[in-house]
Subunit: 121 residues, 2 copies
């Protein structure tokens, strides 16, 4: 029962749904999500830990960055049905469309200043 409510609690915040839908495009690091949601990084980090705790997303380190991605069906028994529902319910959501556009445009090498990984310089 706790596991069930945990998942729905994780899904019951608009910013967390935005994060999930953003991650459907591609993995993102925290600073990219911060840029798009326009929230404090401590707030975004908290949201991500809630999503991770519900096994909806996974994280992996890459230099100083932490990349977040949607869990695979093997990692989360719920992810497929949850994403299917989100796709259906947020099909024509303007906020999601706008976020997706920004995800495509955002460039972590511009937003964040990690020198080591600034391949473009």
């Amino acid at each position: 029962m706790r596991a069930a409510t945990n998942i729905y609690k994780a899904l019951s915040d608009a910013n967390r749904l935005r994060i999930l839908m953003m991650l459907r495009n591609k993995p993102l690091c925290v600073c990219e999500i911060v840029e798009i949601l326009e929230l404090a990084n401590s707030t975004v980090s908290k949201h991500l830990s809630i999503l991770r705790n519900a096994s909806l997303v996974m994280d992996s380190k890459s230099g100083r960055w932490v990349n977040y991605r949607i869990s695979t069906p093997g990692e989360s028994p719920d992810i497929e049905i949850v994403l299917a529902h989100l796709d259906k319910i947020l099909d024509r959501d303007e906020q999601v469309a706008s976020d997706n556009k920004k995800v495509r445009e955002v460039d972590r090498y511009v937003i964040c200043a990690s020198p080591t990984l600034t391949v473009t310089e």
Copy 2:
């Protein structure tokens, strides 16, 4: 987006999940749900209004009683996918099993004292 979070907020409370699973057996009146959840009727009424607000359940009057039931797919575009997920995630939940047992045993004519409808007397 609001509609989406509303549904997940409705699902993010253990007592509301218990109510939904109980209603999968058959429609129930408020006093029957109160009996099984062991909460104040004002609390149960509030939970039911949240579920109704999310279009997950519907109510109809019957004498002094108000019967609640799971919405049909026509009434809620989300109900089928939600129930499928709940069935999966709460498959072996002991609380749900215990509640289902009580739902089968509970008798509104014993719990509530509505004289008009006390057919058994």
